[in-house]
């Protein structure tokens, strides 16, 4: 029996207007950006000040090109 898990958030819309290279703290339900900063710890600190203790974090890449790992 296969279960359908939700897709990861549409980052294109969510991260619109966030500067490239910024670390971003997102709400737990992944529907809004709480804070962003040049350093990860600062983005998390700002989100905690807004009441979100464990925001979801990611970085807006400096370049929007392809991933090759």
């Amino acid at each position: 029996m296969e279960r359908i898990a939700p897709a990861v958030t549409d980052f294109g819309k969510l991260l619109e207007g966030i500067p490239r290279g910024a670390w971003v703290a997102i709400s737990q339900n992944e529907d809004r950006v709480l804070a962003y900063a040049a350093e990860l710890k600062d983005a998390i600190r700002k989100a905690r000040e807004l009441g979100e203790q464990n925001p979801v974090v990611l970085r807006v890449p400096q370049l929007a090109g392809g991933f090759l790992f």
């Binding site: 296969e2 279960r3 897709a7 990861v8 979801v56 990611l58 807006v60 090109g65 392809g66 790992f69």
Partner: protein, 143 residues
């Protein structure tokens, strides 16, 4: 255990000299929580069978209270990088509401510019079955 089908996450890649019209990349992303004792960091990971180990940005490790000054780094490489220092610690990767995996994971500044982790062979693919169906836009994991 059960199979979970997950849609790929779409990323718009803008035009560049090699792809003048740009393109949309589909990437197998998951949301996970990293745990080190009581420290928790929710983040995103890409399922990557080409990675030998589960690996994360070094910034994630610092946020989890892991101190690279207490470790000797191993040299790793990837596209565009050679001999990138990577520090390894045992951590827990939680797939919220489904399962947790205790993993010996790497942390490297070489992923700080990407800002997401990689679920690689040791610790993930050696314990979890994964099926990719790129044409259908989904991948499935058994957990």
């Amino acid at each position: 255990m059960a199979w979970y089908k997950i849609p790929y996450t779409a990323f718009a890649c803008p035009p560049d000299p090699s792809f003048p019209r740009g393109y949309t990349a589909k990437r197998p992303f998951l949301r996970v929580d990293l745990r080190n004792d009581n420290a928790r960091l929710p983040c995103y990971v890409m399922v990557d069978s080409g990675a030998d180990h589960c690996t994360f940005p070094l910034s994630f490790g610092l946020q989890l209270g892991l101190d690279p000054l207490t470790k000797t780094a191993s040299a790793t490489s990837g596209v565009g990088y050679e001999f990138v220092p990577t520090y390894y610690w045992p951590i827990r990767i939680e797939f919220p509401g489904i399962r947790a995996l205790d993993v010996y994971a790497g942390f490297t500044s070489g992923l700080d510019n990407v800002g997401v982790g990689l679920l690689g062979q040791c610790g993930f693919f050696d314990r979890v079955d994964v099926v990719f169906n790129h044409r259908a836009g989904t991948f499935s994991i058994e957990m």
